[in-house]
Symmetry: C2
Subunit: 315 residues, 2 copies
């Protein structure tokens, strides 16, 4: 049995964070249903505060800190959506947030962290430099590390998106979420299996960053071989905690190519008139490609975020 | 006094078309409010059936035809959103639709008309060829011409978007809509002034296709000088009917440059995570640029549609 949060933790997280996040809409599209040969229910975390689901886990983690330790602030290293999410969660609690970012992080990501009052420390763009810089900050400040996914409160927070989706749409046969470090997929799987044991939980991963797929196949944590994917939110790798949850609660991990990601993204933009990021398209692609055996079924899809660099589109 | 529809016609249209269209959402954005220095309420016709407000007018016109004349079908010439809208409206009534399109119309526009069962007749890409081809069809078939804006029932249908917006959001100080042939702006103005005589109705037009701006300034119908704008839905010119309505009910026409259109479009995609077409951005730009004197006020904006060629973005 995994050592992650349980469904009660996710329910508690949902109540804890409710006032600080959007309850995002669930959208449907007859046109996309025809393409997929199934009924699709899109949980639109692209409309979420800070533009992604990451605010759920970050907010739950920050609000779960006891007062004394919270007052010393929080630290993370991230160049992406978790950085802005943690900065905002800390700002709303009135505590400092130190964010370690690689020196080559895009200006728009830096601006988002700064807009939420986060203090950025730049470092060399290597994992080693990020971790040692974060360690320095932790020792100097006495702050708490809030890891983007190797954290039970973060995972519980991410699970609240699936909780909302399943409360709103009954009788889903499938639920699909992207997988990178595995925080969102872990929370999704714990919530979904508790609410509906028959549901099939599917992780969706770029073929070009397929460590979760390979780890599930081999039964042991496989290292990343490469991560050159357009899905910039999906370049991290599982940790022992998230891997143990995936093994217990996830039925399958499917991979999609870069072209399939770009095509799914374009189809959703054109047909649904919503902006989703490539990582979100990764979760939609297997359904649109009829690759999960969902013919005639009801499929929930977590559209994880909408933060896209419009100057670098794949079409 | 103009000879267009009155508010009762718009209310009747709203009931007539309700079962065949979406009641589109009104979205807000704190970030965009800060940019505009005002509270903005976006009526999202980009989520409308066929991807634009045009389905409102086309559906009202088709459903208003008496049975005998309806059975002979409808004709229009259009290369854009009205073509698909009329084809769908006719399909739902079970009558034929003949659509005259220029031979260089984009494949995606042709596909949309065909998907709704419309019969396309291609012609040379000139206004003269379009009109004569439509005339031939009318004589051959005995069908009814449904002009995209020079038609009272079409104008009444377009006014239902503003009716819904004002029913949902009270006390708007301004309402903004794009202007091209003037059907949407006319319907918007008639509805808005009837529901709230103090509201300021502003038409928004590309500087590169500014016949409405010049006509309002000179007091007579001015011909188009040019129409080389990215806002492909706004290249038509006013007709005497829509001009008479604008003179009676529209307070101001403001123009925006091509750069301003592209910037507004990008801002809305990035911040609101929704896909809007350039013509819709034309109506948002004056508010985002603080060019209408709305400081601290409440501003309704009709986002007219979301049909964009993603291969030809201005950014």
């Amino acid at each position: 049995m995994h050592s992650g949060p349980d469904f009660n933790d996710i329910r508690a997280a949902s109540g804890r964070i409710a006032a600080q996040i959007h309850r995002t809409p669930v959208l449907t599209s007859e046109l996309l249903d025809k393409i997929a040969g199934a009924r699709l229910f899109f949980k639109c975390e692209n409309f979420q505060k800070t533009g992604s689901f990451k605010i759920r886990g970050a907010t739950n983690a920050v609000l779960s800190l006891p007062e004394e330790s919270a007052s010393r602030g929080v630290v993370t290293h991230s160049s992406g959506n978790h950085a802005a999410a943690l900065a905002r969660a800390a700002q709303l609690r009135g505590i400092p947030a130190w964010i370690v970012m690689p020196s080559n992080a895009p200006a728009v990501k830096r601006a988002a962290v700064e807009a939420y009052g986060g203090t950025i420390t730049f470092c060399e763009p290597t994992l080693a430099a990020r971790e040692s810089t974060a360690q320095d900050l932790l020792q100097k400040t006495g702050a708490q590390m809030i890891h983007p996914y190797d954290n039970r409160n973060v995972i519980a927070g991410q699970g609240t998106a699936a909780l909302e989706l399943l409360n709103e749409v009954a009788d889903l046969d499938f639920i699909l979420a992207p997988v990178s470090g595995g925080g969102l997929l872990s929370g999704t799987a714990i919530a979904a299996k508790a609410m509906n044991p028959k549901i099939r939980v599917i992780g969706c991963e770029p073929k070009n960053a397929d460590d979760a797929f390979r780890s599930m196949a081999s039964g042991q944590l496989e290292p990343a071989a490469k991560s050159d994917t357009i899905a910039d939110g999906l370049r991290a790798t599982l940790c022992p905690l998230t891997f143990s949850i995936l093994r217990d609660c996830v039925d399958q991990v499917v991979t999609v190519t870069e072209d399939e990601i770009g095509n799914a993204m374009r189809t959703i933009w054109e047909r649904m008139k919503i902006v989703i990021e490539p990582s979100a398209a990764v979760a939609a692609a297997p359904a649109l490609l009829r690759r999960i055996g969902a013919d005639g079924g009801r499929v929930g899809i977590i559209l994880s975020g909408g933060n896209v660099d419009l100057s670098q589109l794949p079409f």
